[in-house]
């Protein structure tokens, strides 16, 4: 065979492997940076822009996990209630990757499978859905979602102890180049060693002819140690009057995490009207290590630490231990993704590429058939090697740790301060529940110090505060009010001497001309994007006990830049008129001395039409 033909054949043989990076996973580091700074609205928009649409898409579940996570952190769970329903439904569906087609049989290793998340990611997703239900006061669904996060785990410790794990740890397990290693990566090396040991145990089981569930390895089914799942289940069960279920959940969580005994006792006592679920940091990175990067391992991004959550209310502070450290469960072999282990086991040791190329190189030039067989084997080998890399898709926006704190807040509003190590967040407007009621608030702390996080000065009036009886002008017209257009808002503007002669429809028309969408208007919260204060086209009001509320309304933003000629002209006229007013009347910035705004309950604007809707439509058509 001529050199040119040989070259062509070799290229062709390796071509399939070169095509595969299209399926590779790229972390969204920009979104991670936004999350660490508490800019969940911007992160949500990024995720939504690139999210897959079809439920059968490989990354559909992953995208939904991120969307739910970011909307919850932003304080707008209403925006993703239908998304969470679909996510839950997909997570509860078995057999998503049961596909017998040839392509699937060859290629369903790694990233071509429909992503359902590692077990701990599934647990986290169920937890976030449970929290969303809790924030919306749906205790039955909260309990159910929390219950789903508490599936049994497989404990392989006996099988692993019988192997030679120590040598694996001592020798390391490959991984990223040493130059790029950090202390947290050193920790991850040990974790990767355990994963390699699991793969080795699986391979040995296969050699011994064992197969089946857990890849033929001996294991003990053990109760989950997903602490936050138990705590949420207990809170919801108590609320539903299911005392036995609550007791069981609390008994188990104390068994798996004795440090949580005081929290368990407080949940059982019922002496609280507010539950705070507080999360911090970002989840570990998943990467491939070992031969062909076939072994999936996790590397912490936010380091684990024992820092308690300190909650300050009315001059008194309380400390709450970490409920769940995601770094810990992500690296635990109990939480191992057996699909990752299976893929690594089946690919490590494969010498098909070398064997194939050797066959082609040493064969008789005249024996084209032998060459072709060898090169085809090489091509298939390259294909298998490329597809046998670990599936490293993961939700990089999940939190690193969770806390649960309880409080008995006064009505109507409270100043609550949260601290985790050097990270602080002050929420001045946390509503206290009426007697006998229970509220659950979700707070995702920024990981980096942010001035707005500790600011106590409300900079923008909004749907929850109303106009606070001060001079009030819409942000889009040069003011500091971001209420959605309504009669109440218009009356506030007119009391301040603006928009006289306007009707509510006229006010709405201004927003329409600016192409600003109002979340919740017409009952829809679909695809809520970046807030107008941050340069986006949406107007929404996050829950008052959320990081999103604090970031949006307690810091200064760039002045609004009108898009329509009408708003430009109106704004110019108003600003000219304002300039002629006495200075004391022109300040529209609410000051720190203002009383706390009265709590206004966010209405649940969008209703999920549910499973039965479509069936009913057919029934009554």
């Amino acid at each position: 065979m001529s050199p040119r033909v040989t070259q062509l054949v070799v290229r062709a043989a390796l071509a399939p492997a070169l095509l595969l990076p299209a399926c590779a996973y790229q972390r969204d580091e920009s979104a991670v940076a936004l999350v660490e700074r508490g800019h969940f609205g911007a992160a949500l928009e990024r995720v939504q822009e690139t999210a897959t649409v079809k439920p059968e898409d490989r990354n559909y579940i992953l995208d939904r996990m991120k969307i739910v996570s970011m909307a919850l952190a932003e304080g707008i769970p209403q925006a993703v209630e239908p998304v969470a329903d679909r996510l839950y439904d997909r997570l509860r569906t078995q057999g998503l990757n049961d596909d017998n087609r040839f392509a699937s049989a060859v290629l369903t290793e790694g990233a071509v499978r429909i992503y359902k998340g590692d077990p701990f990611e599934q647990a986290l997703a169920f937890t976030e859905i449970a929290v969303m239900d809790g924030v919306m006061g749906d205790w039955g669904n909260m309990r159910a979602a929390a219950q789903q996060s508490l599936f049994l785990l497989r404990d392989f410790s006996q099988e692993l102890q019988s192997g030679n794990a120590a040598s694996i740890r001592k020798n390391g397990s490959g991984g990223r180049p040493a130059a790029s290693r950090s202390p947290s990566q050193t920790q991850s090396q040990e974790d990767a060693g355990e994963q390699v040991e699991l793969v080795r145990a699986a391979a040995e089981a296969e050699r011994e002819g064992k197969s089946g569930d857990a890849l033929g390895m001996d294991y003990t089914a053990v109760a989950s140690d997903f602490e936050i799942g138990y705590l949420l289940r207990a809170v919801a069960s108590r609320r539903l009057g299911e005392r036995e279920d609550m007791d069981e959940a609390l008994r188990t969580v104390v068994q798996v995490a004795p440090r949580l005994e005081p929290v368990a006792g407080l949940i059982a006592s019922g002496n609280y009207n507010t539950v705070f679920v507080v999360e911090y940091g970002v989840a570990p990175e998943k990467y491939g290590t070992g031969p062909d990067n076939a072994v999936a391992a996790r590397m912490p991004v936010t380091k684990s630490a024992d820092a308690a959550l300190v909650v300050g209310i009315a001059g008194q502070s309380s400390q709450w231990p970490i409920a769940t450290d995601v770094n810990r469960i992500a690296s635990s072999t109990r939480w191992a993704n057996l699909e990752d282990v299976r893929v690594a086991k089946s690919s490590i040791g494969s010498l098909l590429v070398a064997g194939g190329l050797v066959t082609a190189a040493v064969s008789d030039d005249d024996n084209e058939t032998q060459q072709l067989i060898g090169l085809a084997a090489a091509g298939l080998g390259a294909l298998l090697k490329a597809t046998s890399s670990a599936d490293v898709r993961h939700n990089e926006l999940f939190p690193q740790r969770s806390y649960l704190a309880l409080a008995d807040l006064q009505s109507p509003v409270n100043r609550v301060e949260f601290s985790i190590g050097s990270s602080r967040l002050v929420l001045p407007d946390v509503p206290g529940g009426p007697p006998g009621e229970l509220r659950l608030h979700y707070v995702r702390m920024p990981s980096t110090p942010e001035a707005w996080a500790t600011s106590e000065e409300l900079r923008y009036t909004n749907e929850l505060t109303g106009d606070l009886d001060r001079e009030c002008l819409p942000y889009i017209l040069g003011g500091r009010d971001v209420q959605p257009p309504s009669l109440r808002a218009l009356q506030g503007y007119q009391r301040s001497g603006y928009l006289l002669g306007f009707s509510v429809d006229d006010l709405r028309e201004l927003y329409r001309e600016e192409q600003i969408r109002i979340a919740g208007a017409d009952g829809t919260w679909d695809q809520v994007g970046l807030h107008v204060l941050e340069g986006g086209s949406w107007l929404y009001t996050p829950a008052p006990a959320s990081t999103g509320y604090k970031r949006l309304f307690y810091r200064d933003h760039e002045p609004y830049k009108p898009r329509s000629a009408r708003v430009k002209e109106l704004r110019r006229a108003i600003l000219e008129e304002r300039a002629t007013r006495p200075r004391t009347e022109t300040s529209s910035s609410p000051s720190a001395e203002q009383p706390h705004p009265a709590s206004v309950e966010l209405q649940r604007q969008s209703m999920d039409r549910g499973l039965v809707d479509e069936a009913l439509r057919r029934e009554f058509r």
């Binding site: 299209a22 009952g523 999920d608 549910g610 009913l616």
Partner: protein
């Protein structure tokens, strides 16, 4: 000839990859309640109510019963949308035969305006399903409640295989409770097994 083989091999590989990256055709399955389950449960419960002792001794001259609806309480191990929780009770009375029967026993439907708005928003408004004249806005005397529980079993279809099969049995307890006495005057358990 060699080039032809190469071209064929590349095309085959590309086709395999394209199909691998694209959507698959999974045989997905779930053991969650479906809309059909909810509708069928309503059918079961209606039949039981029609034959109940609560209605047996009554006629148009009996003391009036104004029957309110409550959203079902989900105590199962699965989430259930608010619309489906309401459907579990509303569908019991959204049937003209049941309405005629209940009217003949001097039982009317209590449906306050705010509840009606909520039901409408979920596609469950009485609309054409209920005779408007049968609806009463004054204080109810009784309420129809429902509570959902479930039993889940998980395992593998084949011994030793990965355990990703699950079965759920849903038990839906219906009760009509008299407000003044808190007495349960009728009850029925509907069962849904997948």
């Amino acid at each position: 000839m060699v080039r032809g083989w190469i071209r064929s091999f590349v095309l085959l590989a590309a086709a395999l990859l394209a199909s691998g990256c694209a959507a698959q055709a999974p045989e997905a399955r779930t053991s969650r309640l479906t809309g059909r389950d909810i509708i069928e449960t309503g059918d079961q419960v209606r039949a039981s109510l029609a034959d109940s002792a609560l209605l047996a001794g009554r006629d148009r001259t009996s003391p009036p019963i104004k029957l309110g609806l409550a959203e079902a309480v989900n105590k199962s191990s699965d989430r259930l949308a608010a619309a489906d929780r309401w459907a579990l009770t509303a569908l019991v009375v959204y049937d003209f035969e049941v309405q005629q029967l209940l009217e003949s026993r001097n039982v009317r439907l209590y449906l306050p305006e705010d509840t009606e708005v909520v039901l409408e928003s979920m596609g469950l408004g009485p609309g054409s399903r209920v005779d408007p004249g049968w609806i009463d806005r004054t204080a109810p005397t009784h309420v129809l409640r429902a509570e959902i529980r479930s039993l889940a079993r998980q395992g593998s279809a084949v011994a030793g295989a990965v355990s990703d099969h699950r079965q759920d049995v849903y038990l839906i307890d219906y009760r009509i409770v008299e407000f003044d006495s808190s007495r349960v005057v009728w009850s029925r358990t509907g069962t849904v097994a997948d």
